[in-house]
């Protein structure tokens, strides 16, 4: 032990000096990190050898031994090329349109391109933090764009508008209720005497209720008939909807006092919708219909994965909140829903949606095959997201909700303004993880006869014009690169977002 320490007061501050040369720079790095001990030196050598044996053949295959030009398989044969043949790029060139569009009819492919361009134009400003007007941008991308994209890609037009749809939906619902009542009554006539009377009464009551409801919606149905009778059903219905909704918003927002803003906003939105209808000719039947069975390639991959990612978020948030709800019924439903979808493989979900669901649905009621797959994937991914988001919710200290409540924020405002923003930030890595997994899992749709990117690729292998020893490798390498570009971009962008949002955690 030392002597009693002398009192010490620093008189001159130690100056800052440069680090020793041997620990900085490339030489320093090699010396201190790669070769500092015999084990590390050995590991470095093995690592370099591994890189040598993987990267060199890959580059050789993809670039140096590759065949770049040709019109059929003969160009990619070793005897014609004069050297060992690597990647057969003419095959990719020849099949490129198939990889992107599938069997989408050639004269209509501009619609796909236009959709891609629209998506890019709307998505890019949203991804760049500095660009203003995020809210209208997001509304356009997530609400308006899907509808426009549907009519662009699928085609077809409108037969009416919201008034017609509401009238149809309501009267169908009420008619089916009346139907059920009539069936109950007739069942009462044939059933066991004990059950007969209550059944008949119940049936009569239901029929009466149905009839009453029919009178209630009669004004709407009458309006719809007037609209249909007019020469321009779409535009008449559109105008009626615009007037009803705008007036409703005007009154709800305080009428003559301060409802003007809502009125103007609503009219502007309807004007936008009107312009879209006019430009796309939706009132005149729209673009020629391209059945979803003809869609394929990257188009299907992107449609399925983007819809899945976007639609699974609200599903996930709702289920995560539901699972923590204090209402037992909501909680039980959420738990059951999540466990069901997590317990079933995606392939089963897709099979069920494609081949078995139509058997259970009433005869004349069909949903498009692609839509069924989209719904299945959205619910499947939603269940996974729900658990990821629940993790974020649980990481939040209870004090946050207490502070929000003490300020008088309601439960939903607390959730929306304080809890969710923080919870979602915590789970960005987990969410992006499931998004990337979902993006790659979309290749499973090829088992239900949808030709996504991978499906189109495999279909193209069947072409004898391009049957060469390296076609298979070239094709998979090409699609692999495409998948990698998308997944890597998502991953990097999520890191960027994480760093940006976590500004507050750095001091």
């Amino acid at each position: 032990m030392s002597e009693l320490a002398e009192p010490f007061v620093r008189t001159a501050l130690a100056p800052e000096r440069r680090a020793p040369i041997s620990t900085t720079g490339f030489v320093g790095f090699v010396r201190t990190r790669l070769l500092n001990t015999p084990t590390n030196a050995l590991l470095s050598i093995i690592g370099i050898l591994l890189l040598w044996f993987t990267i060199v053949p890959t580059v050789k295959f993809l670039l140096f031994d590759a065949v770049w030009q040709g019109s059929d398989r003969t160009a990619c044969l070793a005897e014609n090329a004069g050297h060992t043949v690597g990647a057969c790029w003419p095959f990719v060139q020849a099949k490129f349109t198939q990889f992107v569009y599938g069997f989408y009819p050639e004269p209509e492919r501009w619609r796909v391109n236009l959709t891609f361009a629209l998506a890019a134009v709307l998505l890019l400003p949203l991804l760049i933090p500095k660009v203003p007007a995020k809210v209208p941008n997001a509304l356009l991308l997530f609400l308006a764009f899907p509808v426009v994209a549907f009519f662009l890609l699928h085609g077809g037009g409108l037969g009416g508008f919201a008034v017609g749809w509401t009238a149809d939906a309501l009267s169908n619902l009420i008619l089916s209720i009346g139907d059920a009542g009539a069936k109950l009554t007739s069942l009462g006539l044939t059933a066991h005497p004990l059950a007969a009377l209550p059944l008949k009464w119940l049936g009569d009551v239901v029929v009466i209720l149905g009839t009453a409801a029919l009178y209630l919606v009669f004004p709407l149905v009458w309006l719809k008939q007037q609209i249909q009778a007019s020469g321009q059903p779409v535009w008449a219905d559109f105008a009626a909807t615009a007037v009803i909704v705008s007036l409703g918003l005007f009154v709800l927002n305080g009428a003559f006092r301060n409802g003007w803003r809502a009125l103007v906003l609503s009219l502007a939105v309807f004007a936008g919708i009107g312009i879209v209808i006019a430009v796309m000719g939706l009132d005149r039947g729209g673009l020629p219909v391209v059945d979803t069975r003809l869609w394929g390639g990257l188009l299907v991959t992107l449609v399925v994965s983007v819809t899945g990612i976007v639609a699974s978020m609200p599903v996930g948030i709702a289920l995560a909140l539901g699972r923590r709800s204090t209402i037992p019924l909501v909680r039980m439903f959420s738990v059951g829903f999540i466990e069901f979808w997590r317990g079933v493989p995606l392939i089963t979900v897709l099979f069920f949606a494609t081949y078995m669901l139509p058997l259970f649905l009433p005869g004349n009621f069909t949903v498009d095959g692609l839509v069924r797959v989209l719904i299945g994937i959205a619910l499947f991914a939603g269940a996974y997201n729900a658990e990821v988001i629940r993790g974020g919710l649980q990481a939040l200290p209870r004090g946050q909700t207490e502070a929000a409540k003490a300020l008088g924020l309601s439960h939903w405002k607390t959730t929306g303004l304080v809890v969710m923003p923080q919870a979602l930030r915590h789970v960005i890595p987990g969410l992006v993880n499931s998004f990337i997994a979902l993006f790659k899992d979309t290749s499973l749709v090829s088992i239900v006869a949808l030709f996504d990117l991978l499906g189109s690729l495999r279909a193209s292998f069947a072409d004898p014009v391009w049957a060469t020893p390296t076609t298979l490798f070239t094709g998979f390498a090409f699609t692999g690169i495409i998948y990698f570009v998308f997944c890597f971009a998502m991953s990097r962008y999520s890191l960027f977002v994480e760093r940006r949002l976590n500004v507050h955690q750095r001091s």
């Binding site: 004090g399 003490a406 300020l407 008088g408 405002k413 304080v418 507050h504 001091s507």
Partner: protein, 246 residues
């Protein structure tokens, strides 16, 4: 006791499961009165003030806050919370919002005040707690004492009639206790009704009208600070004061 109490607690009883945390609490707080509540940990002092803005429910008794009655079923929660501001031990600022956004969140979303007016008002309160220059910082970028002062400003933006403080200085570094206490003293001088759970006896002596001592879920003794410190009556109070005043 007080002629026209702003808070009246009558026969309050609360259980956590089988554990009886609050027993027969009766307490009246006059307008502009400043009460310091002290006691050993687990004595129910935090639970008591948390009942007053309905962060905790209770099983028996009633609390009337500025004419709004809170029964065991907590129906008029929103009205009460608008009257009462609360400051927590662990600050509980919203880390994803800037200091200014922390202070405008509730005015904008609860009182529906336009954003510009809410920001102007918030800046006024931030000046009052003497940190307007930190308005655009995030809570993680400022010190604990500054965070707690922001929390006070945030509560004040809702124009509460009563302020509750739940051990506002016990999570702070010793160097920062004073700045928070000074802010609270200023607030007291402006005539705010305050209920403060704290062990800062200096603060109690300086600003409190009454000191309430709690133990085992009951009010053991309540007196003016002068009498409370100079002449404690109950044996438990004497023991407690003997422990903390050295």
């Amino acid at each position: 006791m007080t002629a026209n109490p702003i808070v009246a607690v009558e026969g309050l009883n609360k259980w956590y499961g089988e554990f009886h945390v609050l027993r027969d609490i009766d307490l009246e707080v006059g307008r502009g009165e400043r009460i310091v509540i002290c006691g050993p940990s687990g004595s129910g002092k935090s639970t008591l003030i948390r009942c007053m803005n309905a962060l905790e429910e209770f099983q028996e008794g009633k609390i009337v806050v500025d004419g709004i009655e809170l029964g065991p079923n907590l129906r008029r929660v929103d009205e009460v919370r608008r009257e009462v501001g609360m400051v927590f031990q662990s600050f509980n600022l919203f880390p994803h919002l800037t200091v200014l956004e922390n202070c405008t969140l509730a005015p904008i979303w609860v009182r529906h005040i336009p954003k510009k007016d809410a920001e102007a008002a918030a800046m006024k309160y931030l000046e009052r707690v003497r940190i307007p220059d930190k308005a655009n910082k995030y809570p993680g970028q400022i010190s604990g004492g500054q965070q707690q002062r922001v929390a006070i400003a945030r509560a004040l933006t809702m124009n509460p009639k009563i302020m509750l403080f739940d051990e506002p200085t016990s999570a702070l570094d010793p160097e920062m206790v004073k700045e928070v206490l000074d802010t609270m003293v200023d607030l007291a001088k402006e005539g705010m009704t305050m209920l403060v759970v704290t062990h800062e006896m200096g603060f109690a002596k300086e600003v409190a009208n009454r000191v309430v001592f709690m133990d085992a879920g009951q009010i053991i003794e309540a007196n003016t600070p002068a009498n409370f410190f100079a002449n404690p009556q109950h044996a438990r109070t004497k023991l407690f004061l003997g422990q903390i005043l050295r």
